[in-house]
Structure formats: structure tokens, C-alpha cells
């Protein structure tokens, strides 16, 4: 009995997720001492709403890292999907949320497909390719569609409504109410979809195998090229969803926004235990990573630090996550 328990703890201590959960509990306890408003339902509902866009992007970035690649261009894809779909909605005069999502996602899939095609067809380095396409996509968006932001008064009504919609509401004693945003449903949907693909389909197994050893994947008969096409298109698809959600969240669509945030997303994924050498990491870890990063960024001021510390913390988080993962993996020690 005792032996089993120690074994259980040994196994758990090897998981990044358990450290993340410990850190979260510690941080939440600390914050609830510092501020009374921290440990309230409304604060956590807000947190969930604000973090959902990042969570969706992070799941995409996670799938790419799992396959041993890295994608930097998804922010440019998200902003393209967001801005172009809003512009089309306004110029056509259609006020339909489904249409907005369909447009944004298809733009996302198209741009992601370009990434995937370049990477799989010509066997290019993922980092350098997506660094290039990041500036091509964003530069093209700003050149073709202009730089004028769309503010709340011009925005299609459906997007504004979508930003306000909640799953359920809690009415306070004074009559005002607050609720959990529908954005969270999208995160849950994407989590289930990604989990299903990775866990139950041959495609998902392929992603893991490519991450472990691409040549081995090819020789065992996986169609590596089309799996890569899928991976990058999937990232584009998720970026398209995130674009609309982000527009609804801040009720303002600025084509120069979002780009530049890719490092935060990658920080979250790396903190979650995913390694760029591929084949490692979990969805739970990724979500925990996103949660920790958003909680840290939101509450910097509460612990007495100015927002100037944000960039610094992102760096620390990436390094801490990566070092933790590297130190844990024992097999790599053999190489050098």
C-alpha cells in the first residue's frame, strides 16, 4: 500500500502538469490574500472570457509543436481572418455570426494551407518559413485592405451581441447580473476536437509519430506531407475562430493588433510541457499554461509591478518551462 503510494507520487512528480497545478494553487492562495476581489466568481468568469482566444491559439500552436515544428504566423492569420471577414460583412450588409465565422475560418484555412504546402512540399524549416509568411500575410493584409480600424459603432451587430452573450447568468442582490461568456464553449469545443483527433484518429497518431521521428513516420507508411498540410491548415482554422472571438471580446477590430502576441502563446504552450523536439506535451498542460500566463499578466499590477514587467515575465516563463521539460527528459542525456 505504502509502496504503491510512493510509486504514484514518483510518477506524478515526473509530470509537468502537477508542477503547474501546484504553482496555480500557490499563486491563487497568494493572490486571495493580496486582494479581496481576486477569489470571486466574476473575476474567474472574466478571466475565462479574456483567456479563451489565447487558449484556442495555444491549442493550435501545441499541435504544431507536437509534430516537431513551430508556427509563428498564426497571429497574422487570425488578424487577417478577423479584419477581412468584418470588412466583407460590412460591405455586403449581411449581419450573420455564422457567416463571419465561415469567412474567417476559410481565410484561416487557406493561409494555413499555404504554410503547410510550403513546409511539406519543399521540406522547409518551419521556423524560418513561418517567420517569412508572418510578414507576408500581415504586410499583404495592411497593403490590400488598409490600416483603418473598425470601432464598436461600425462593427456588425452580430459580433457585438456575440461578445455579450453568456451561457448562464447569476443575478446579484442589487439586481445586476453577470455570467460566463459563450467563448468558453468554443474553447471546450476546440479542446474536444483536438483531443479526439490526437487520441482516436490515425491522423493524430501520425502527428505524434512525425514529432518523434519523421523518417520513421514516412517508412511506417504515414503520409507525412498530407499530415503536415492538415496540421498547418488546422492552426489556420483555429486562428480564424480566434479572430472573430477577439473582435467580439474587445469590440474593436484593428488590423495592426494581435500580431506580436505569438510569443505569449508559444510561452504558454512551452510552459505546458510541450517540447519543440516533438512528440511531447498534453492538452491539459497547454490549458494550464494559458491559464497561468493570463492570470500572471492580469494581476501584475495587483502584486505591485507595473505592466513593463510583462515582457520580462513571458521570457522567464518560456525559459522556466523549457528548462523544466528538458531536465525531466532523461533519454536526451545520452546524446551529449
Amino acid at each position: 500500500m505504502d509502496n504503491k503510494l510512493t510509486q504514484y507520487f514518483k510518477r506524478i512528480s515526473k509530470k509537468t502538469e502537477s508542477y503547474l497545478i501546484l504553482f496555480l494553487i500557490f499563486y491563487i492562495l497568494l493572490m486571495s490574500f493580496v486582494s479581496d476581489s481576486f477569489l470571486t466568481l466574476i473575476n474567474f468568469f472574466d478571466l475565462g472570457k479574456n483567456a479563451s482566444g489565447m487558449a484556442i491559439l495555444a491549442l493550435g500552436a501545441f499541435v504544431v509543436l507536437l509534430s516537431g515544428g513551430i508556427d509563428l504566423s498564426f497571429t497574422a492569420i487570425a488578424v487577417s481572418g478577423q479584419y477581412i471577414s468584418a470588412k466583407i460583412l460590412l460591405s455586403v450588409g449581411v449581419d450573420n455570426l455564422l457567416f463571419a465565422f465561415a469567412l474567417s475560418c476559410s481565410i484561416g484555412i487557406f493561409l494555413g494551407f499555404i504554410n503547410g504546402y510550403l513546409i511539406s512540399r519543399f521540406k522547409l524549416q518551419t521556423l524560418i518559413t513561418t517567420l517569412g509568411t508572418l510578414s507576408v500575410f500581415h504586410g499583404a493584409l495592411l497593403t490590400i485592405f488598409g490600416t483603418a480600424p473598425i470601432n464598436a459603432s461600425q462593427l456588425p451587430q452580430c459580433i457585438i451581441e456575440f461578445g455579450k452573450a453568456t451561457i448562464f447568468r447569476i443575478v446579484r442582490e442589487d439586481g445586476s447580473s453577470y455570467g460566463l461568456s459563450v467563448f468558453v464553449l468554443f474553447v471546450i469545443g476546440v479542446v474536444i476536437l483536438t483531443w479526439f483527433i490526437l487520441r482516436f484518429t490515425m491522423l493524430g497518431r501520425g502527428i505524434y509519430v512525425i514529432g518523434g521521428n519523421e523518417e520513421a513516420a514516412r517508412r511506417t507508411g504515414f503520409n507525412v506531407d498530407s499530415i503536415k498540410l492538415f496540421i498547418y491548415s488546422y492552426v489556420g482554422f483555429l486562428a480564424g475562430i480566434m479572430g472573430v472571438i477577439n473582435g467580439a471580446l474587445i469590440r474593436f477590430i484593428d488590423p495592426t493588433e494581435i500580431v506580436g502576441r505569438e510569443i505569449n502563446v508559444i510561452a504558454a504552450v512551452v510552459l505546458g510541457g510541450a517540447s519543440i523536439t516533438g512528440g511531447k506535451g498534453s492538452i491539459l498542460g497547454t490549458l494550464l499554461g494559458v491559464f497561468i500566463i493570463s492570470i500572471l499578466n492580469d494581476n501584475l499590477v495587483l502584486i505591485g509591478l507595473s505592466s513593463f514587467w510583462q515582457r520580462f515575465f513571458v521570457g522567464v516563463i518560456i525559459l522556466a518551462g523549457a528548462i523544466l521539460t528538458a531536465v525531466q527528459s532523461e533519454e536526451k542525456k545520452l546524446i551529449r
Binding site: I70, L118, F122, K123, L124, Q125, L127, I128, T129, L131, G132, T133, L134, S135, V136, H138, G139, A140, L142, T143, I263, I266, A267, V270, S275, I276, T277, S306, F308, W309, Q310, R311, F312, F313, V314, G315, V316, I317, I318, L319, A322, I323, A326, V327, K332, K333, I335, R336
Partner: protein, 343 residues
């Protein structure tokens, strides 16, 4: 003897030299008065060293199979440190000698900070065995973050005249940054071609595991390469802040794409092991011609982004196709040879 070296350089970079001449001829034909002037060439020669030194740092890391995405942040941070020393510490009515002392201290402090940043990169990649991409993405944010914190994101302006010479001075008709750059390129070439470390770097880049079994200290070599890359970023930062007479956190972030573009254009293999300084220099000049042309034509920064981004992808595609073709023809030769032996 000298002719032989030039011939070698020509043979190694035939495509690049062709591209360089094409760009040069096209710009000379279409923008003769503004492109072909001494002033334009002098201004190009002051711009090349800044990102040329950063690109050299990226190249060295790439040669070893790594990458250094933090060069711009290192340059930023060390520039800020030098700027703080020169603006905060020099007393109001300092004498010439005193100012000289503080300028010297600022330079040493900037280079020291840059080397320290390189050391952090090197230890994390070499000894903690974290992937170079992730490491330098992390330190990129970290170093930039430190710069933002110590300046509260404000710019620092106004340096002593003695310091401004580094970025704006001329020796005869040659801008001083160009002279620093040429000296640094000689330094790096000697390290790569004439020292044991240079050879080890290429071997590690080709096959890390084999290098390890050949008794090369892989970990220490990674530390050395990132130290060198940090040092070059430090030199670049001095030129950068001296040229614009100010330092601000976040300055030069667009250089990241350009440095990687130049390195890839220069024929350095992103998988490691192969790359020549001569290729890098020709690529630098080519890119500077293009930049100068697009400045004269008044392109928006967005169009410039499209150009550099697509150029990067196109060069990668061409490299990949030609590498594929070479390996196929090589394979054919080997097969024929093998068939001959069997017969």
C-alpha cells in the same frame, strides 16, 4: 595567390554574385541619379554594419545547428546600458578626459552585458540542453523585458560627441562603422577558418552526435558560439545607438526578419554545418541595394515586409529544390558506380 582567393569566392557564390549584379544593374538603369551617388553609397555603408553584425551572430549559431533569435534584444539591452551610463553618470561640467573615461566605461559595460547575455544563451542551450529556438525566443523576451523595465519604455537621448563618432564618423571617405565591420569580419573569418573552434563548430552543425563521439566538447562549444554572437550584437548596439544618438527598448525589432533573410540568402544551411562569411557579405550588400531601392521608391513598411518575407520563402524553396537535384544526381552517379563495380 590573391587571385586564387577571389576565384574561390566567385566559385562558391556564383548564383549570389549573379543576383547582386542583376540588382545593381537594374537599380543603376532605373534610378541612376539617386542610386549611383557617393552619398547613397556612404549611407548604405553606414547601414550595413548594424544588421550585418547581428546577422553574423545568427550565422555563427546556425553554423552549429542552432539559431540565435535574441540578437536584436541583446543589442537593445546593451545599447540601453551604455546609454544610461553616458547620460546619467557623466557630471554636468565634466572635463574632456572625464567624458572620455565614462564613454570608455559605457562601451565596456555594453560589451560586458552583451557577452553576459550570450553566456546565458550558451549555458541554457549547451548545458541544460534546451532547444536553441525555444531558448532564444525566451531570452529574446527576457532581454527585451529587462530593457523595458530599466527604462520604463522611455527613450534615452543625447550622448557625448566623442561617442557619436562611432556611428557617424568618417575616415577619408569611409564611414567608421564600415571599418569596424570589416575588422570584425576578418576576426570572424579567422576564427572560422584558422582555429580549432571553427572546425568544431562546423562538425557539430553537421552531426552533433558524431562530434560528441569524436571527443569534441559540444557543450562548451555552444557556450563559445553564443558568447561570440552576443559580443557581435554588443558591437552592433554601439554603432546603432551612436548613429541615431538615442536608445530605446524595442528599437530595431524589424531587424530580426532581415538578419535571418540575409543569413539564408547568404547560403548558410539552416540545418547547420555549411556557410561562408563571403556569402553572407554578398547577401548583405544585395539586401542593402534592395532596401536602398525601396527607400528611394518610397515603399510603405508593409510592402517592404512583403518583399523580405516572400524573398525569404523563395530563397528557401530554391535552395531546397537545388539541394534535392544535387542529391538525386549524386545518387545516380553512385548507382552507376556501384553497377560498374558489380559488373
Amino acid at each position: 595567390m590573391k587571385y586564387g582567393v577571389l576565384k574561390n569566392i566567385y566559385q562558391e557564390n556564383r548564383t549570389l554574385i549573379f543576383l547582386l549584379t542583376t540588382v545593381f544593374v537594374l537599380l543603376s538603369i532605373f534610378l541612376p541619379s539617386r542610386f549611383l551617388s557617393l552619398l547613397n553609397f556612404q549611407s548604405m555603408a553606414t547601414q550595413i554594419p548594424e544588421f550585418g553584425l547581428l546577422a553574423t551572430g545568427v550565422m555563427l549559431a546556425m553554423l552549429m545547428g542552432g539559431i540565435d533569435l535574441s540578437v536584436v534584444s541583446i543589442a537593445n539591452l546593451s545599447g540601453i546600458i551604455a546609454a544610461l551610463i553616458m547620460t546619467r553618470l557623466i557630471p554636468e561640467n565634466a572635463l574632456g578626459g572625464q567624458i572620455g573615461f565614462f564613454v570608455f566605461t559605457a562601451i565596456i559595460a555594453a560589451l560586458g552585458a552583451a557577452i553576459l547575455c550570450g553566456l546565458i544563451n550558451g549555458v541554457i542551450v549547451g548545458y541544460l540542453r534546451v532547444n536553441p529556438i525555444i531558448t532564444t525566443i525566451g531570452t529574446m523576451s527576457l532581454f527585451m523585458g529587462v530593457g523595458i523595465i530599466i527604462t520604463s519604455s522611455r527613450g534615452i537621448i543625447g550622448f557625448p560627441d566623442a561617442f557619436l563618432f562611432i556611428g557617424n564618423g568618417y575616415v577619408l571617405i569611409f564611414p567608421f562603422p564600415l571599418i569596424i565591420f570589416v575588422a570584425m569580419m576578418f576576426f570572424v573569418t579567422i576564427i572560422l577558418n584558422r582555429t580549432k573552434f571553427g572546425m568544431h563548430a562546423r562538425m557539430i552543425g553537421t552531426n552533433q552526435r558524431a562530434a560528441y563521439f569524436a571527443n569534441i566538447n559540444v557543450r562548451l562549444s555552444f557556450v563559445k558560439v553564443y558568447l561570440l554572437s552576443g559580443f557581435l550584437s554588443g558591437i552592433s548596439s554601439l554603432i546603432m545607438i551612436s548613429r541615431v544618438n538615442s536608445a530605446k527598448s524595442g528599437y530595431g525589432e524589424s531587424y530580426l526578419l532581415e538578419t535571418i533573410l540575409v543569413v539564408i540568402l547568404g547560403g548558410i544551411d539552416p540545418r547547420g554545418g555549411y556557410g561562408k562569411i563571403s556569402g553572407l557579405i554578398i547577401a548583405l550588400i544585395t539586401l542593402q541595394f534592395l532596401k536602398s531601392g525601396s527607400n528611394i521608391l518610397n515603399f510603405t513598411p508593409f510592402i517592404k515586409n512583403i518583399i523580405s518575407g516572400s524573398l525569404l520563402v523563395i530563397v528557401m524553396i530554391i535552395n531546397s529544390i537545388s539541394a534535392n537535384r544535387i542529391s538525386k544526381s549524386e545518387m545516380k552517379k553512385r548507382q552507376q558506380k556501384a553497377a560498374g563495380i558489380i559488373r
